[in-house]
Subunit: 304 residues, 2 copies
């Protein structure tokens, strides 16, 4: 089926941001020749040429909506993506998910070694905060501190790391929907929300509607991940499929089945759109929020 | 031998700061009852009741010198100490030093498990940056961003994590003195320097003399660690002694012997004092810089 003009336009936009962010990451990461060279090479291996860059796409879509400087968005997007990349490296370690494949390549501890993978994650996290601290990214230093606070909370024990800890203890348990939501909002939702918020903060205070949008899309993302983990093949995912169910982890699918999980994701997609409606008050065509709407659709309707 | 009045005064000051920082850490860490409870308990296990608090002592000594608000110093000291605590948790993991004892207690991965220890370190790092971002710690937000930048660089691939990476690859190698210095300045020196600088930044721009002092004391600290690792017993150190030599790691001791290593540390101690002289121009008794001088002596002359 040929893509519609809108779909083709969205695909072109995605491609241009992905290319742009790849370049920004390559420039933001220490050069592979600088000592300690092996660590820097491994950091680049972990962060470059990887994934769909969903978080950077959200940062750019939110930032473009409020008229943020693309040079600022480059840095904000890199910081969020480095946190994401570090979390993948640590999650793949033998003491966590013990995974050998990520984005179709050997995981960092397989390609290098476990100790290096540990340090790659640690150093990528530090670099994310360094980037937010050393570049001018907002109209005031106070707003920039808010960017740092946002990313730190999203990454820490009440955000992503906390979600991972809940996930660790979840094996073999049955979770209620509120418990699943509590875990998913932290494990994945927090950083996705932060990606949206950081994009907005590059141009000024973040509208409440964008925070709502981020929370809904963030939760939807992880629910769809649960569904895809059950349905997709390893080849399509680029990572080991079906792991959660094999490990006896509670997911939206194990708790309520694929159909109901997809339905909840669909409701969140509609709610995410609804949050954007208020931002379109003076723009009845909704063109300002178009990219964020397309990304919500992409996240929920994706097949990989 | 009874302590001199000056020694007793220094010991009392150290004790008061250590008690103060313990309280600040206890308040800054998420409560052990908050979800995810096990992660938060493990973070508290890793960061509380531990060590000599050398970095917080340096933050307070530098801050008191320039008249910084103690409430600000509490937070800056906590941030630095959380980075230090996280680095110990990760260093002790089986894939790194594989150590079972730290500060006289089982290491975090022994007391909890490896995956939790990994997340404890990750979350402590994020919390350190959160603390620096969400509290008012400097006279301007711009200076506060400089605090964040300083801590991030000190922690990352060109600071502490980078030093660890060099240390990993060093096993079985012989290092020249410049190579040893390159490693030590990163592995330990960077965070010690940052501790001094953050204390000063709480009251304004950091004097260059304090940066010099920090670099010298930071390098001296690691050289003395090398000496103590060779000389001390496990009981005295509270951690496994003699590990570096058993692992064939190059140290100042393996490269040049105990006597020469001690001599270099002593030279650095004197150079650290000399850096402070310029700050005493208007205070011939040197009382303003007294604590930093005492700390330099303490770091180099300690026996544990």
């Amino acid at each position: 089926m040929p893509a519609s003009p809108t779909e083709a336009d969205f695909a072109a936009w995605m491609g241009s941001i992905q290319t742009r962010v790849e370049g920004a990451l390559a420039r933001s990461l220490p050069g592979p020749q600088h000592a300690p060279a092996r660590l820097h090479q491994a950091m680049r291996y972990a962060a470059l040429e990887g994934g769909k860059r969903v978080r950077p796409l959200l940062t750019f879509a939110a930032g473009e909506l409020v008229g943020a400087d693309p040079a600022r968005l480059d840095i904000a997007a890199c910081a969020v993506e480095m946190i994401h990349a570090y979390s993948l490296v640590h999650d793949d370690l033998p003491c966590m998910d013990d995974d050998v494949l990520r984005r179709g390549k050997p995981t960092v501890h397989v390609e290098y070694d476990e100790a290096t993978a540990l340090l790659v994650g640690d150093a990528l996290q530090a670099l994310a905060f360094q980037l937010l601290a050393e570049n001018t990214l907002a109209d005031t230093a106070v707003i920039q501190l808010e960017m740092l606070r946002t990313l730190a909370i999203a990454s820490g024990s009440r955000g992503m790391a906390g979600g991972q800890a809940i996930d660790l203890e979840a094996t073999g348990k049955t979770f209620s929907q509120p418990e699943l939501e509590f875990m998913h909002v932290r494990k994945t939702g927090a950083l996705i929300s932060a990606a949206v918020k950081l994009g907005a903060l590059c141009a000024g205070p973040c509208p409440a509607a964008l925070e709502q949008y981020g929370r809904r899309v963030g939760l939807a993302f992880q629910i769809v991940d649960d569904v895809l983990d059950m349905e997709a093949s390893t080849a399509t995912l680029g990572k080991t499929a079906g792991k959660d169910s094999k490990q006896g982890k509670p997911t939206y699918v194990s708790a309520m089945g694929v159909a109901r999980a997809r339905q909840i994701a669909e409701e969140l997609r509609r709610d995410a759109h609804a949050a954007l409606d208020t931002l379109d008050t003076f723009d009845k065509l909704g063109q300002r929020t178009q990219r964020l709407r397309q990304l919500a659709d992409f996240i929920v309707l994706r097949r990989f």
